[in-house]
């Protein structure tokens, strides 16, 4: 297999109530990525797009072909990926394999979502479609409820009293909001305190509104190329050192492994193994913090902290710049926002720019970062892990 690199990036501001269509949002960032890669739309051989609920959001299915046409990638193969909140990461991983295989040399990967167009009740209904519709939705399944079930399980399994766990969870949200203040693309630019989190609306015990990411609109895109093509086109290609993906079934079927997510551990082991790297080698991480407890579970599953201890790590600042592993310097899903089809591509954008050293002007650069990992969780059942590297 050939090595594959990111050579162009584009990212919209994530927001509520975008005035643009999904094609417009994605076309703008796609052209940004194409321009940065020093190519033209005619050089793009295929397009992959992560998009989850375009059908419900604006009555638009098959957005990938309309996007390809709109940006002048006329008649290329265009594919849509749907794995709930991991759709964008699936689209990236799949494209990496196509280029690595030698079938294509240059591909565009985008992700887009316009979830706020649905309004909260329908958005909650459609997001719940990524749980088991027959056996778990009838009980009132929603994603806040899933992570609320895991939070109580986490408290019980690791012997952390709920009051202490709630403080740890709040520390996760506080940090995300702080870094989002430095990210011009973030949906929420508002510092919050631990008290703000703990007094916010109770969504599903013990998860409160400020433990949860918002519904979001937005898009992100990257151009990827074979190493040979990348070196001719840009000065600082950023390479995919490792990729991994795994699946799991309905929440109850994961049983005694919970609150750990086995599919995440398998996916990240695949990418560490392919890269020949370990968690200690990572200089930063963008992980799937759809809820504060989800961030804690993810950080442990990726190998950064012992099980049951990541909340303390957040409280001690080990997840900040200068700490053991800087996590979600973008503001994370919590404050950067979570347009679900775009999220994985946005994570790749973030880590790529960190590894190129582009974030200094925003005051959130990890100096000398060489390796970064992204982690994306979709519904009950898609976990994607990718390691990016300067080398």
């Amino acid at each position: 297999m050939r090595r594959v690199a990111v050579i162009g990036t584009g990212h919209s501001k994530f927001c509520f109530n975008s005035e643009k269509t999904q094609v417009e949002m994605l076309a703008e960032v796609a052209l940004d990525a194409i321009n940065e890669a020093n190519i033209t739309p005619k050089d793009v051989q295929a397009v992959n797009v992560g998009n989850v609920l375009g059908d419900f959001e604006e009555g638009q299915g098959m957005v990938q072909s309309f996007l390809a046409n709109d940006i002048g990638c006329f008649n290329v193969a265009a594919s849509r990926f749907e794995g709930a909140c991991a759709s964008g990461s699936m689209a990236v991983r799949d494209a990496v394999m196509w280029v690595a295989s030698g079938y294509y040399d240059i591909m565009l990967v985008g992700g887009v979502e316009k979830a706020t167009a649905m309004g909260t009740p329908l958005a909650t209904r459609t997001f719940a479609m990524f749980g088991d519709s027959r056996y778990e939705f009838p009980a009132g399944f929603t994603f806040p409820a899933v992570f609320a079930l895991l939070a109580h399980l986490y408290s019980n399994k690791y012997g952390i009293p709920m009051a202490a766990l709630k403080e740890q969870m709040a520390a996760v949200s506080v940090q995300s909001h702080e870094y989002a203040m430095k990210n011009p693309n973030a949906q929420i630019h508002k510092a919050i305190s631990k008290e703000d989190v703990l007094k916010s609306f109770m969504v599903s015990t013990p998860i409160q509104l400020q433990d949860a990411c918002p519904f979001s609109d937005g898009a992100a895109a990257i151009v990827i190329a074979s190493e040979e093509a990348a070196k001719k086109l840009v000065k600082k290609p950023v390479y995919f050192a490792g990729i991994g993906q795994a699946s799991s079934g309905k929440l109850s079927s994961q049983q005694k492994y919970l609150p750990r997510i086995r599919a995440r551990e398998l996916a990240s082991q695949q990418s560490y193994s392919m890269a020949g790297l370990t968690p200690e080698d990572m200089d930063l991480c963008e992980l799937h913090d759809c809820f504060s407890i989800a961030a804690m579970i993810a950080a442990e599953g990726l190998g950064f902290f012992d099980y049951g201890t990541s909340g303390l790590a957040w409280e001690k600042g080990e997840t900040r710049i200068g700490g053991k592993i800087p996590i979600n310097l973008s503001g994370g899903l919590k404050a950067k926002g979570h347009p679900i089809g775009a999220t994985g591509v946005s994570q790749v954008y973030e880590v790529t720019r960190q590894l190129r050293g582009d974030m200094a002007e925003q005051g959130r650069q990890v100096d000398g970062a060489k390796n970064g990992i992204i982690d994306t969780l979709g519904g009950d059942g898609v976990l994607v892990s990718m390691i990016l590297s300067t080398m």
């Binding site: 329908l122 056996y135 009132g140 929603t142 079930l149 599903s204």
Partner: protein
């Protein structure tokens, strides 16, 4: 190869408070809700079995938000129950005040009943779910 215990049959039984699953003739494990294969060993040498409907609560949440069309159900308590036969299953905890449910209920024994979700335009029909109540 045919599915041994379909959702349709599972759903009809649950509406009569009967919890149906599969018992594996090879490894002895129970699978509930049903799947094509044994959830433990992935083989297909199993038969339909009725489970006791008894178990203990392993985790819970009380929700104050709901999906479109279910707003009148809040607040409601979702529980994950470890059945006496081994499998975990998601259901509701009923005959309690959802707002008063705390961590104290973890480990408490429960007995199965059912409630029926009456369908919406996306659900392809109605669906029963386990509605557990505390024993004692």
């Amino acid at each position: 190869m045919e599915y041994k215990l379909t959702f349709k049959d599972y759903n009809q039984a649950l509406k009569r408070d009967k919890l149906m699953g599969l018992k594996c003739n090879d490894c002895g494990a129970f699978t509930c809700p049903p799947m094509m294969v044994c959830g433990e060993c992935a083989r297909t040498n199993h038969e339909i079995a009725q489970l006791s409907g008894k178990g203990k609560i392993v985790t819970f949440t009380t929700s104050f938000i709901a999906a479109e069309g279910r707003e009148n159900e809040v607040p409601y308590t979702i529980v994950m129950v470890e059945l006496d036969e081994g499998p975990w299953i998601m259901g509701n905890l009923v005959a309690i005040d959802p707002k008063k449910v705390t961590m104290d209920i973890v480990g408490k024994p429960v007995q199965l009943g059912n409630r029926v979700y009456p369908a919406d335009k996306y659900s392809n029909g109605d669906m029963a779910r386990p509605a557990f109540s505390l024993l004692e």
